[in-house]
């Protein structure tokens, strides 16, 4: 494998890791607050449909992204009301929302556009364009680092850079702010937070809503940056890979970034089986590469690479003592 091929693969790694990263960080807020969310997939899918449809009507990717966030927030609100207000089973609520999203997105897109559940292809300003970072062309002749900067790091849509900025922001919020301390506490010991006079429900709702916003961005990226428009089931299990990455990273933001980059790398490799074959010298079945993130997650869950311990109060609705 030559350097140019490696750069190509790294470039698509970044592209493919971005929706995973946004969804993974989304899940991090919710799960750190003690609300398990296996409905990331559904929220992303809803956001992708809303973003694709609104971007088509308005011709603006930004307004599309806002619509995506709004759609995802509606689902986040249902999840919040169900699992926080009514103390329903968080996992079952997530499963339900995934099915709802899977059906409703197709129904809506079909009613609006009549193209078999797709939105029409987006062009021009309805998609997020590729940004060229400063000095990209000037640095290109520099050996090794030049092409890496110009071809891999530069030339992505703004959402890619935003996703990585949110990693830093999440780290700062989680470990350096009062809100972050409370968020971590409410996922471990809600009774203690309650005793300190902070609203458990309020904190959890805020976390679930942040999850909605970030899933909205992830979905918008799918429909208006990675691809040109919404397609039926376009998230294709990415919400679950993001969940896997979150476990792999043991619910920590910076590690989540590494996990998503790794899983994005697998996805990029699955697109280039020829490269894999030339490197390892035998034919690796593509389905195996597709399954790798899930297999790795099971191994991590089994505790063979350090133990993944979820937030202690996760999955349990909080009942105030009387």
């Amino acid at each position: 494998m030559d350097y140019a091929t490696l750069l190509q693969i790294l470039d698509s790694t970044l592209r493919l890791a971005t929706p995973l990263l946004l969804a993974c960080l989304a899940g991090l807020y919710s799960e750190r607050s003690g609300v398990f969310d296996i409905g990331l997939e559904g929220k992303m899918l809803t956001a992708a449909m809303c973003a694709g449809a609104v971007a088509f009507y308005t011709g603006s990717a930004w307004i599309g992204a806002l619509a995506g966030i709004a759609g995802s927030l509606v689902f986040a609100a249902i999840h919040g009301v169900t699992s926080i207000t009514f103390r329903g089973n968080q996992l079952i609520a997530g499963v339900a929302l995934n099915f709802l999203a899977s059906g409703l997105t197709v129904l809506t897109a079909q009613a609006l556009f009549g193209q078999g559940g797709r939105t029409p292809p987006l062009t021009g300003a309805a998609r997020f364009g590729e940004l060229t970072l400063p000095f990209a062309d000037a640095l290109r002749p520099v050996p090794i680092i030049g092409p890496l900067y110009a071809d891999v790091i530069s030339g992505h849509s703004i959402l890619v850079y935003l996703a990585f900025a949110i990693v830093a922001l999440t780290w700062w919020i989680l470990y350096r702010t009062r809100y972050g301390l409370r968020l971590r506490a409410v996922g471990e010991n809600p009774a203690a937070v309650d005793t300190a006079g902070v609203s458990v429900k309020g904190l959890r709702f805020s976390a679930v809503m942040i999850t909605g916003v970030l899933c909205g961005l992830a979905g918008a990226y799918m429909a208006t940056a990675l691809q040109a428009g919404f397609g039926k089931e376009m998230t294709a299990g990415r919400g679950y890979i993001a969940l896997a990455a979150l476990i792999f990273a043991k619910w920590r933001p910076v590690q989540a970034m590494y996990a998503c980059l790794l899983f994005g790398f697998f996805q990029a490799l699955a697109l280039r089986p020829d490269v894999v074959e030339s490197v390892v010298q035998f034919k690796v079945p593509v389905p195996f590469l597709d399954a790798l993130p899930y297999i790795l997650t099971v191994i991590v869950l089994a505790g063979f690479i350090g133990k993944a311990i979820p937030p202690r109060a996760g999955g349990e609705p909080y009942v105030k003592e009387r």
């Binding site: 249902i78 009514f86 996992l91 499963v95 929302l97 099915f99 899977s102 869950l301």
Partner: protein, 366 residues
């Protein structure tokens, strides 16, 4: 919170949940500019108003009984098995293994072999998540989700690279031998007077009903069933009573996986008569809705499976005859899971208020 009378708990709560799901589905149909009354008419006419429709409704219901029972058994042990889809796909592989290579003389013997293969493969696929839950504390929900995806990849690999007959393009196995053909309902003497044309529903339907009885016997009439239910109600109490948690988790999940796998004798052996890609086509997930709606009781599961069979066949008719996309089924499925599974407390709170209101009036009158 006040307790509801038993009849309300058993019948009224699911009925109210279902009504709420139906109302919202109707609103969705109105929102996409279609007529809900027309929709329900088409669904009823296409699925339960003639023998041909029933042939499909019962076929779908058969699969859903198996997967619903699978979820039910795990639920009673306090385990949420979302992996029915993967286990059912592996069950399909088990059926294919049992039928492709051995020329069975008669369909009854082939059925026994295929059922063993299906249950064995399904159980094996549930065994790893079960072991990880029991021994390493890995959350069964997450591992079974992961195993669904691993199963999907494994099946693609098996069909494309291993089982596909040489020279064929489609990723499917060869057809099963003629002798392994299961009688459809229209081929059974007596029933062929009702079902005059070919229908996919087959003898497996009766096996599904028998399994519902077996599951009821197991859960409420055996020592093991008692242990499973005790463990599901309270793990510490069960532990204190000398019930071995590892054993219960393993056994409950193996039974659950086996039941999900058994579904394959309906769709793979009974209908397709060869192994196709994505053979379970979502039935494993519908098992979740069926179990929740059936309140984790075999009788409820059979009734809920019939309802979902109607929904599935009716939904297909909608896709054929109206402008409403077939995906409406997925929406209804999501709504049923939401209301019967997650918003259970809300429905109960609502009913308790209403009951309290009535009781209040009675007191005032007295």
């Amino acid at each position: 919170m006040d307790r509801l009378p038993r009849w309300a708990d058993v019948a009224l709560v699911p009925f109210v949940s279902l009504t709420l799901a139906a109302i919202i589905s109707a609103l969705v149909i109105i929102a996409i500019g279609q007529d809900p009354w027309e929709a329900i008419t088409v669904m009823v006419e296409g699925s339960v108003m003639n023998a041909y429709g029933w042939g499909y409704t019962l076929y779908y219901a058969t699969s859903f009984i198996f997967t619903g029972l699978a979820v039910t058994v795990a639920f009673h042990a306090g385990l949420f098995n979302i992996g029915g889809e993967g286990q059912a796909q592996l069950g399909g592989l088990g059926v294919a293994m049992a039928l492709l290579f051995i020329p069975w003389p008669h369909w009854t013997i082939a059925l026994v072999a295929a059922a063993c293969g299906a249950a064995l493969f399904g159980a094996a696929w549930a065994a790893i998540p079960a072991y990880l839950q029991a021994k390493r504390g890995s959350h069964i929900v997450i591992t079974t989700i992961m195993f669904n995806y691993i199963a999907a990849s494994l099946m693609i690999f098996m069909l494309v690279d291993v089982l596909r007959p040489p020279g064929k393009m489609d990723p499917t196995t060869a057809n099963f031998p003629e002798a392994a053909h299961l009688p459809s309902l229209n081929e059974i003497p007596g029933l062929n007077l009702i079902f005059t044309s070919g229908v996919p529903a087959n003898v497996t339907f009766f096996i599904a009903l028998a399994m519902a009885v077996v599951v009821w016997l197991l859960l409420w009439r055996t020592r093991l069933g008692y242990q499973i239910r005790a463990f599901g109600k309270s793990e510490p109490a069960a532990r204190y009573a000398g019930i071995n948690p590892t054993r219960i988790i393993m056994v409950a999940m193996l039974i659950s996986g086996g039941l999900a796998g058994l579904m394959a004798i309906n769709n793979v052996m009974g209908e397709a008569e060869r192994l196709l890609g994505n053979s379970a086509s979502g039935a494993g997930f519908i098992g979740i809705a069926v179990a929740l709606m059936g309140r984790n009781h075999p009788v409820g599961v059979v009734l809920a499976a019939l309802l979902f069979g109607f929904l599935f066949q009716g939904g297909a008719e909608l896709g054929l005859w109206t402008k409403i996309p077939i995906e409406l089924r997925t929406v209804v499925q999501g709504l049923v899971i939401l209301f019967t599974g997650a918003l259970d407390v809300m429905v109960r709170m609502l009913l308790v208020r209403i009951f309290a209101l009535f009781r209040g009036r009675k007191l005032e009158a007295a």
